[in-house]
């Protein structure tokens, strides 16, 4: 009776599905993100900093990095490090919340499109195709041009509402594939209602790629926000964002290189960390993917 007790299966299975990682690259990425977040959200609370203060707009402008100003000062004598940390607060918050909005919308729409049948499904599919065909940057510039009152809340909303199509397509495909899986058929065969089948058997199984997409999406939104600020359609000055800061220094990058370099580095490091983390999550959550990669 006990001869089919697994000897190795259970440990191998557990290792395949754990969500953490011992891979050094992903660990350093996670550590880097924690450092950046702590720098932006905690350091300014302990050390008095003011990203908007302009102590002396003649003598203290465009100072190179020094002991007093680790990252120098800008053309209005503001401390670049203070602006970088406060800018990080805004840029990171926008990225995280905008991604939350888009992932929620995308999951809901994709699930509806994947689970529906007949005419409704064709309709939802066509609408999604149409939305996917619009270049996002153009639509964002148009929206910001038409509605120039810039606040963080509005920024989050607009980036979220224009960012869910990819997630929707991902979830739709996932749900479509899951619908034909044996355990869904088995749930139908035991008398489960359509809503139970959806919420218990289809949705939880389609969320893995969503988690990965969200992690990668945060990095994408940071870049997008920086690009918009650079194009001058982001948040209004003097509120600092990383993209806005690069744009401030762009004109004088030869002489006053520190204005653009440090926010640029911050963006690159943060986005890279999110990307590595996203890949690590994908490998940890999808054992089959992992086997292919290794």
């Amino acid at each position: 009776m006990n001869s089919d007790t697994p000897l190795i299966v259970s440990t191998a299975g557990r290792a395949g599905r754990r969500w953490w990682t011992t891979d050094p690259a992903s660990l350093s990425a996670a550590a880097l993100l924690v450092t950046i977040a702590a720098g932006c959200f905690i350091v300014p609370l302990m050390i008095p900093m003011d990203p908007l203060a302009m102590p002396e707009i003649v003598k203290l402008i465009n100072l190179p990095p020094s002991i007093d100003h680790f990252m120098g000062t800008d053309q209005s004598s503001r401390d670049v490090l203070s602006r970088l940390l406060y800018g990080g607060r805004i840029s990171l918050s926008i990225a995280v919340f905008a991604t939350l909005v888009s992932v929620t919308l995308g999951t809901a729409y994709g699930a509806a499109a994947g689970y529906s049948t007949g005419i409704l499904r064709s309709l939802l599919d066509r609408v999604l195709d149409a939305l996917l065909s619009i270049p996002r940057l153009l639509i964002l510039i148009a929206i910001f041009a038409a509605w120039p009152d810039a606040s963080v809340k509005r920024f989050v909303l607009i980036l979220g509402v224009t960012g869910w199509y990819g997630v929707a397509r991902l979830v739709r495909g996932q749900v479509l594939a899951l619908k034909t899986r044996d355990f869904v058929m088995s749930a139908r065969a035991m008398g489960a209602t359509p809503s139970r089948i959806f919420f218990r058997h289809i949705l939880p199984n389609s969320l893995t790629p969503v988690v990965v997409a969200a992690t990668l999406g945060i990095g994408h939104v940071i870049v997008l926000e920086a690009g918009l600020s650079y194009l001058g359609v982001g948040l209004d000055p003097p509120a600092p964002t990383w993209g806005g800061m690069i744009q401030d220094g762009a004109a004088s990058i030869r002489n006053v290189w520190w204005l653009s370099l440090f926010p640029g580095l911050a963006i690159v490091l943060t986005v890279m960390a999110f990307t590595i983390l996203g890949d690590a999550l994908l490998r940890a959550l999808e054992p089959r993917q992992k086997q292919r990669d290794d």
Partner: protein, 342 residues
């Protein structure tokens, strides 16, 4: 004679595809009596799984149970029952065990949770009661330390254990009928024997009827009391297991028997039935087996054979029943002749 538990009359399940109508199940009638183990045997594509799925109305587009089909179960015709009524039957009065224990369980929930779910779908008891019942069922299906196992996920269990979990799910509501669709095909031979033993033991204990669908005559011999042989979407022979193994009548059944490996013989190659099952969109006229049959003659082409009665409880869809002398003149079946000519 008492009323049968399940009575299927003229079941026709057709798939309306772009390349034509696939008549996968084409006029099947049979009964399952209370407490009996009925086997359905046949090759892939002969319609046995579609028959099983039709009983629970799990056929998906473009498949359809055609008008004039009746599936009588506990006084209701399942073909015309509304969706809510059908859900009350599924898992509760008729349960199904699927072929692939690997994929028939949801990977994100513990197995105890999934067994308990069946009770929660159908019962009004609390979560805790359902969980307790689930652990009892797991223990009943011979899973060691069931409390611990109930908290594990499907991927932590071996194939045989997962099949036991599926059996626990099927049994928890104490259904009148269990449909087992190739329950042991995905398992290795030793586990296969254990699972069959478990099923027959539980059947005797609870008096559940089991409809055992398989392509493996060995499984039939070990478990069933009565057998239906299906070919081309039809029943071609029906007999008790003893009769079938001692005096199979239909050439297709003979072929299946012949194709079983025998321990006592030494052979380079296994015997096979030449050719394959024709596509269900284009069954041959007359007898659907005639191209692969080594006895076929003109009558097989012109006249679709009815189910002839061979003896009490033994029927066969073969004209040999009325012209038995033809059995003495076997020839190469058509598919082999064509194959040799090419």
């Amino acid at each position: 004679m008492t009323e049968p538990l399940l009575s299927i009359e003229n079941l026709r399940t057709w798939f309306h595809t772009e390349s034509g109508i696939a008549r996968s199940v084409d006029g099947v009638s049979f009964v399952v009596n209370a407490g009996e183990m009925l086997g359905i045997v046949g090759e892939s594509g002969c319609g046995k799984s579609v028959t099983a799925l039709s009983i629970l109305r799990l056929i998906q587009q473009p498949g359809r149970i055609e008008e004039g089909s009746h599936i009588m179960f506990e006084g209701k015709d399942l073909v015309t029952l509304d969706d809510g009524g059908m859900r009350e039957i599924r898992g509760n009065r008729i349960a199904m065990i699927f072929q692939e224990p690997m994929s028939a369980l949801n990977p994100v929930f513990t197995v105890g949770d999934q067994v308990a779910e069946v009770a929660r779908v159908h019962g009004s008891g609390s979560r805790r009661d359902a969980w307790k019942r689930a652990v009892e069922m797991l223990s009943l299906t011979g899973i060691p330390s069931p409390e611990e196992r109930a908290n594990q996920y499907p991927h932590q269990l071996s194939g045989g254990m997962r099949q036991r979990v599926l059996i626990a799910m099927a049994l928890i509501m104490n259904p009148a009928l269990i449909i087992a669709d190739e329950p042991t095909t995905a398992l290795d031979v030793t586990i296969q024997a254990q699972i069959l033993e478990l099923l027959t033991g539980l059947q005797e204990r609870f008096g559940t009827s089991i409809l055992m669908i398989t392509h493996d005559l060995g499984v039939i011999a070990e478990t069933a009391t009565r057998v239906l042989v299906m070919y081309g979407g039809e029943i071609v022979e029906e007999a008790s297991v003893d009769t079938l193994f001692s005096a199979a009548h239909h050439p297709y059944t003979e072929g299946l028997m012949h194709a079983m490996p025998q321990m006592s013989e030494e052979r380079e190659r296994l015997n096979v039935i030449p050719g394959t099952v024709p596509p269900p969109t284009a069954w041959p006229s007359g007898c659907r087996f005639r191209d692969r049959c080594s006895y076929s003659w003109e009558r097989c082409e012109s006249e679709h054979p009815p189910l002839y009665e061979i003896s009490a409880g033994h029927t066969s869809r073969c004209h040999l029943a009325v012209e038995p002398e033809r059995r003495a003149q076997p020839h190469l079946p058509l598919v082999e002749k064509v194959g040799a000519a090419l």
